[in-house]
């Protein structure tokens, strides 16, 4: 089972490799990828250095081109594909059909993966991309139960990558436009959910805080509460006279305890979320997951997550809490 870790910059890439990642995934410095944040991602020089660092240690580098170009921006995505084809990238992670088609035709030898933003949730969808574009792997949206993941694996030859840890999208990825409804920008069109320019943290006289997105109140905190980044699906709203986390609480996905079952299901790779996080986060999470996968590989029947691993992961989780998400049926 391959461990795929996030790298928003060169120090994170090195941290991932040094702590046991089998592969890292990165993006260019523009809206061609779904972590289009200021100060993040790789320019020409840094990409070369990153690839060299990884390849010297026999690890892989994947490049995410996982947003959706519109006609006016098409040439930027086309250039990004060509750029990726010219450097020694191990796989391209693509969401858009048009971009996928271009990459396959222009660079027939490139390994292609279907991004989670491609929103393929059934083996019929996955096999479509294999048939037309010979994809080698698909990253599954975080909407399937463990049983459904297994059924999907059983009905395709495409390698399956699932999310193991990190910020949790509660909506099916690639088809959520909550962010653009509030701000005008979405992961699909802009490469970011709740873009920073639309976020406001407003201190209140009583020590509390309001978090807003383009003026819309996403959450209101007391003085003794820690405010979370205002993502719409993690806010507190009023439904039917009750104010609560109507969609989901601020929480991170953590599937460490499901590792033996993911092995049994035939999952090929585990993905860690968090290209926007610090090199320290990447190092910490990568180290825990490396140890866990190695231990599980030795004997999956006796595998149990160690309590210090869980503590380490909880420390870097949203709201300091974790969930099994959709893998665990009662969550749904």
């Amino acid at each position: 089972m391959e461990l795929v870790c996030p790298a928003g910059n060169l120090p994170s890439l090195k941290a991932a490799i040094d702590n046991g990642a089998d592969a890292v995934y990165i993006g260019f410095k523009d809206d061609t990828n779904a972590r289009h944040f200021a100060g993040l991602n790789f320019d020409e020089k840094k990409i070369q250095q990153g690839i060299e660092y990884a390849h010297t240690k026999n690890r892989k580098v994947f490049l995410a081109l996982n947003t959706y170009p519109q006609p006016s921006g098409w040439s930027r995505w086309q250039k990004a594909v060509d750029h990726a084809g010219e450097i020694n990238i191990d796989s391209l992670i693509i969401a858009d059909l048009g971009v996928m088609d271009y990459a396959r035709n222009r660079w027939p030898d490139l390994n292609l993966h279907l991004s989670v933003q491609g929103s393929a949730t059934s083996y019929e969808a996955v096999n479509f991309y294999q048939r037309h574009f010979d994809i080698k792997r698909v990253v599954l949206p975080r909407v399937l139960s463990l049983k459904q993941v297994k059924q999907l694996v059983d009905n395709t030859d495409v390698g399956i990558e699932v999310f193991g840890f990190g910020s949790l999208c509660v909506m099916v990825e690639g088809r959520c436009i909550l962010s653009s409804y509030a701000t005008g920008d979405s992961p699909n069109t802009f490469g970011a959910c709740s873009p920073a320019k639309a976020v406001e943290w407003i201190d209140k006289p009583d020590g509390g805080m309001d978090t807003r997105l383009n003026g819309l109140l996403v959450d209101r905190y007391n003085a003794n509460e820690n405010a979370s980044y205002p993502t719409i699906c993690k806010g507190r709203f009023n439904v039917g006279g009750n104010t609560y986390h109507a969609l989901e609480e601020p929480t991170s996905l953590n599937t460490l305890e499901l590792l033996p079952e993911l092995f049994d299901a035939g999952v090929q790779a585990i993905k860690i979320e968090g290209r926007q996080r610090s090199p320290a986060y990447v190092a910490q999470v990568t180290r825990v997951w490396r140890d866990a996968i190695d231990l599980c590989q030795q004997n999956k029947d006796t595998f149990k997550p160690k309590s210090d691993w869980m503590q380490e992961l909880a420390k870097v989780s949203e709201g300091s809490q974790t969930t099994l998400g959709a893998y665990h049926r009662p969550w749904q």
Partner: protein, 295 residues
């Protein structure tokens, strides 16, 4: 420009559903999209019932298109998908790439939850059989103009012109959550909310609408005021998305404007009274979807 009626996004009783279509069978709507596109647990109307309704509407001279689920997860979802896509008579609206996969080689419609953001995607789908394409909701009129200028001639365009905006789909049921229930024991609570459940901010600003596993906008997307400029763009079909009440009147207002029997200004004033939680059109202008801009 022809009018279409999108599939019902909410969970209505079988009686309500059949009565709704009976009332609209002689309306100016030319294209009916039928089927369950949100939650596979909803069984008031079985797949067979949709087929029977489809035949009935077809016998009245309507074009009928069968809509598939936007979010397929279980094996049983795939079985239903096969049954719909293999029907060999009615055209099918693919609402995810699994459906596109099964419809390859047949004439099909791509729904707004299939990500068609650029000319290359539309061209590729047209080579697989795409007959009509519904533009994703977050795209603007400027992008639409670019797409209309470059799309293959054989592909018709359809624009979502009225209704609450489908914004997201999840494994989790939010209607069940609002009642402290899990999805597996949802007790079909969504049938009590024929127009969904309103979600407000803590400042009582109307924001979203919960409809089972789907999240909609609270505001109604309304392009009626834009109709005059839309007529010159080369749009083939305008889609109206059902709400529980007044759909007959809403259809008539659009029809009268298309046929120049009523000004869009007068019609818009009348339409505003038939919707709840206000209207929006920000996406059309390339802005935040919730915004409302005068045309």
């Amino acid at each position: 420009m022809r009018l279409s009626l999108g599939s019902i996004l909410y969970y209505w009783s079988k009686d309500d559903t059949l009565a709704f279509y009976r009332d609209l069978a002689d309306s100016p709507v030319e294209i009916f999209y039928l089927g369950e596109s949100v939650c596979s647990k909803r069984k008031q109307m079985r797949t067979q019932d949709w087929f029977e309704l489809a035949e009935e509407l077809e016998s009245k001279g309507k074009e009928v298109v069968l809509s598939t689920l936007a979010l397929s997860e279980a094996d049983s979802d795939i079985k239903t998908l096969h049954r719909i896509c293999d029907n060999n008579h009615f055209m099918v609206e693919a609402n995810d790439m699994g459906a596109v996969s099964l419809l390859e080689g047949k004439a099909f419609v791509s729904g707004h939850s299939v990500n068609t953001y650029n000319q290359h995607t539309i061209k590729l789908l047209s080579e697989l059989g795409l007959k009509r394409w519904v533009m994703p909701l977050e795209l603007s009129k400027d992008t639409l103009a670019d797409l209309l200028a470059t799309k293959p001639e054989t592909v018709e365009s359809e624009i979502f012109a009225f209704g609450r905006i489908p914004l997201a789909y999840s494994a989790r049921c939010y209607t069940a959550r609002a009642h402290n229930l899990q999805k597996d024991d949802c007790q079909y609570r969504c049938i009590d909310y024929p127009d969904g459940m309103l979600l407000n901010t803590q400042e009582d600003q109307k924001f979203l609408n919960i409809n089972g596993i789907q999240t909609l906008s609270a505001q109604t997307y309304n392009l009626l005021p834009e109709l005059d400029s839309m007529k010159t763009m080369g749009i083939d079909v305008l889609r109206l998305s059902p709400q529980y009440r007044h759909m007959d009147k809403i259809i008539d207002l659009f029809d009268q404007c298309i046929n120049n029997k009523l000004s869009t200004e007068d019609a818009s004033n009348q339409l505003e009274k038939l919707t709840s939680s206000g209207s929006c059109n920000g996406y059309w202008y390339g802005k935040a979807g919730i915004e409302s801009k005068a045309s």
